[in-house]
């Protein structure tokens, strides 16, 4: 019995360790349980970059990371997925719309110089731009899709002809050190302050010097289009000697605070090397998440209790031992989740609850075998031993097939599906251990007490010796 006692101690140590882990290492909850947004961002190839290489994807990821940090969400997660997707998890975010707008925008800022002799032309175009933009705002309210689309097309034409009046300079958003919303004197309107790095500051000074006092303007373009109604600025003649030095500039756009902040985040986050689109957004409110946890706990406890009752009712003493093993199973599995940092999602919890039902399968196999051996007239101890021995092959085969299905799910599935596969597979592995080692050790230990060594505790209505059919 020395070996049994040793194993019992080991199991006790494992359980205590597991409880310590559960109490001290927090369970990682998925966004569907604690609330938050998950966005999937699709990176798109362009004319120049037809195939997205891992380095391209990584570059996009870093820019997105910069923008996520600007959102001020705690514990955000930015991951690449597959060949051309980025997954952003924003726990507790309550404005998924802002997140979507900020993360998905391209925001390539650049500064351009007006070509000589285009002053009159620019005046006309600016007037056009103003009209179209005002019209667009009104149309948005009326929701006349056809009219919006028509105006949009006209707007684009105006933008294009304005762009043609300017020539590109070297100064671009890449040289920004900082961008921030700054209040103006007028109530509720905001500017976006810019601060360039050293090279950018030099270029800005050079640029402003070259147009100071000429009447020509400096244009600010976002993604190749004028940034707003106020996009072109003339530079006072007093800067003709040195240009505007110090590397600071202000975009006066009459923005509201929200727009100014979004723009600042996008600019600070840098320019995306490739266009992106938000293709998936799953947002769960915090209260809904809490509700789901509550329900899952009810479901888990309900399932566990039903199984526990059934096992004792049907298998008697071994059933009780299987129950102990099952509780140990539940504790060890939860500890394994915490320790391995498995993120628990709703399907993941379902996988765990399901594995409770399936975990007793090994014990059911063993006990059925034990009963058969008892019925064929073997001694109690030998029946238990050979029950374990002979059921092992079935237990192994059936668990390996489940693991194969889990592996397929884990490799090929996405997101939530992965969570389910991982929890189910972990459950299967732990259950192999508890069902075989724990229940075997406990059962053999129980048999060391003469008072419990009664076959009818193992098999009710045991007929005296029955020849095997």
């Amino acid at each position: 019995m020395g070996r049994q006692r040793y194993l019992l101690l080991l199991i006790a140590a494992l359980v205590i360790g597991a409880i310590v882990v559960i109490l001290n290492v927090p369970t990682q909850l998925g966004l569907d349980l604690r609330g938050g947004s998950q966005l999937t961002i699709q990176v798109k190839p362009t004319e120049e970059i037809k195939e997205i290489k891992p380095s391209d994807l990584d570059a996009v990821r870093r820019v997105i990371e910069g923008r996520v940090n600007g959102l001020g969400v705690s514990e955000p997660l930015v991951l690449t997925a597959g060949k051309d997707q980025i997954i952003v998890q924003l726990p507790g975010v309550n404005d998924p719309i802002q997140a979507e707008r900020v993360l998905g925008g391209t925001a390539q800022l650049d500064f351009r110089k007006q070509k000589p002799g285009t002053e009159a032309q620019l005046g006309i175009e600016r007037q056009q731009l103003r009209e179209k933009l005002t019209l667009q705002r009104e149309l948005r309210k009326s929701n006349d899709q056809a009219a919006i689309a028509k105006n949009q097309a006209e707007l684009k034409a105006v933008n294009d002809s304005i762009s043609a009046l300017f020539e590109k300079t070297e100064l671009s958003g890449k040289m920004l050190k900082d961008a921030y919303p700054s209040a103006t004197n007028v109530q509720n309107t905001w500017d976006v302050g810019l601060q360039f790095d050293q090279r950018g500051g030099e270029l800005f000074a050079e640029l402003t010097k070259s147009i100071a006092g000429t009447g020509r303007t400096l244009g600010i373009f976002l993604d190749g289009a004028p940034i707003s109604e106020n996009f072109a600025y003339s530079v006072d003649v007093k800067y003709a000697q040195t240009g505007i030095t110090g590397g600071n500039a202000v975009i006066e756009g009459n923005f509201d605070l929200e727009t100014a902040r979004d723009l600042a985040i996008q600019l600070k986050g840098g320019a995306l090397p490739l266009p992106v689109e938000v293709v998936e957004n799953r947002t769960v409110g915090a209260t809904l998440g809490k509700d789901s946890i509550q329900r899952s706990i009810y479901a888990a406890i309900g399932g566990l209790v039903l199984v526990l009752i059934f096992m004792v009712a049907y298998y008697r003493l071994p059933g009780l031992i299987a129950d102990i093993a099952l509780v140990i199973y539940a504790i060890l599995t939860l500890a394994a989740f915490n320790l391995l940092g498995v993120t628990l999602t709703l399907p993941g919890i379902a996988g765990f609850i399901l594995s409770i039902g399936m975990a007793v399968d090994a014990n059911v196999l063993i006990f059925e075998r034990t009963r058969e051996e008892l019925q064929s007239g073997k001694s109690l101890y030998r029946s238990v031993e050979s029950g374990f021995y002979r059921a092992f092959s079935s237990i192994l085969d059936s668990n390996v097939t489940t693991l194969i299905a889990c592996a397929a799910l884990f490799w090929l599935g996405a997101g939530l599906v992965k969570g389910f596969a991982l929890t189910l597979a972990l459950g299967v592995l732990v259950s192999m251990f508890t069902a075989i080692t724990c229940s075997r050790t406990l059962l053999l230990y129980t048999l060391s007490f003469p008072g419990l060594r009664k076959p009818q505790y193992f098999c009710p209505n045991l007929e005296p010796v029955k020849a095997e059919a």
Partner: protein, 328 residues
């Protein structure tokens, strides 16, 4: 209780065929009506599902029931007339919110819709809001990844079984798997037609879990058949199959029962998302236990009869050989 699966096999095959046929007919009708054998959920076709609940902490915000007609008129005004609108009721049966399913909306469009709805219905509680937007591309990806996972699992299991057992065992185990999957899918086609039940990526997960569980059940019976053949090579295969099924019957029933107990628990307490998932598993697991007993084993017996392998290998091949080495 003693089952005579071999003698009654025609009955079981007839039952299975009828179930499968009903499912196929339902899929066919479904195909004619909605262009897909099952009613595809958001995950597969893409779209936006919005769930808003009223903020009941505000005075007079939750008093009146949700005015679906008003919601409908808002949707029409936004050019989203074909959307699916449903009221959400809380546990006491009071209407506290709405779910809307539309074509994919971007952030701006969603914002606009939300404020338009809020104007008509009252203030929403942002902590109870749920938004799911799935682009059509993602939907396609989820679907094909799921399908691929299913095929990979089938192949993996087939290879494992033909290594651990023999090729014919593996083939009939896979046949039984197809049987279970086909019936589960068929029943969901019927549910889709009758109750608008949709399938999403969790349904594919359910199918894969069914695959794992069903084969698990089959393996236990096969294991017993193999063991009995090795011990008694002179026994007729029909007899062996009958005996193997019966000696594992209590186990089959009990395991399925414990699993179903947990599944019913998920079904009853687990919340909306998991309900359909649990239902799929309940159907599939029941079918899995059924097909292991009545389909996989009877087909194996029939095959062995037809190919002249009614009896195990002659005693010349010592029984201990094949068994002990495999069993440990």
């Amino acid at each position: 209780m003693k089952l005579q699966v071999i003698r009654q096999r025609n009955v079981w095959w007839a039952i299975s065929s009828a179930l499968i046929l009903a499912g196929i007919v339902a899929m066919f009708i479904s195909w004619k009506q909605i262009g897909a054998p099952l009613r595809p959920g958001l995950d597969f076709v893409g779209g936006t599902r919005l769930q808003f609940e009223l903020d009941c902490s505000k005075a007079d915000n939750c008093q009146k029931p949700i005015d679906i007609a008003a919601v409908r008129s808002v949707m029409d005004a936004e050019g989203l007339g074909s959307s699916n609108i449903q009221a959400i009721t809380d546990r006491s049966g009071k209407q506290v919110g709405i779910t809307i399913r539309t074509a994919p909306l971007n952030g701006e469009q969603r914002n606009q819709l939300q404020s338009a709805l809020s104007e008509k219905l009252g203030t929403f509680d942002p902590s109870k809001t749920q938004i799911d937007t799935v682009g059509p591309v993602i939907g396609q990806q989820l679907f094909s990844a799921g399908l691929l996972a299913l095929i990979v699992a089938f192949v993996g299991i087939a290879i494992y079984l033909s290594l651990r057992f023999q090729l014919d065992y593996a083939i009939f185990a896979i046949v039984a798997l197809f049987h279970d999957i086909l019936i589960t899918v068929g029943i969901f086609a019927i549910l889709g037609l009758l109750f608008n039940v949709e399938v999403d990526s969790l349904f594919i997960v359910a199918l894969l879990t069914i695959v794992g569980f069903s084969v698990n059940d089959t393996v236990v019976i096969y294991d017993r058949i193999r063991e009995t053949i090795a011990l008694n090579p002179e026994r007729h295969i029909d007899d062996i199959v009958d005996a193997a099924v019966n000696s594992t019957l209590a186990r089959s029933i009990n395991t399925t029962l414990t699993t179903l107990l947990t599944l019913f628990s998920i079904f009853l307490f687990g919340g909306e998302t998991l309900k359909i998932f649990a239902l799929a598993l309940i159907i599939g697991f029941t079918m899995g236990a059924y097909s292991s007993i009545f389909i996989a084993s009877t087909l194996l017996a029939l095959w062995r009869e037809r190919t002249g392998q009614v009896y195990g290998p002659a005693p010349a091949a010592p029984a201990t050989d094949g068994v002990s080495s495999k069993e440990v």
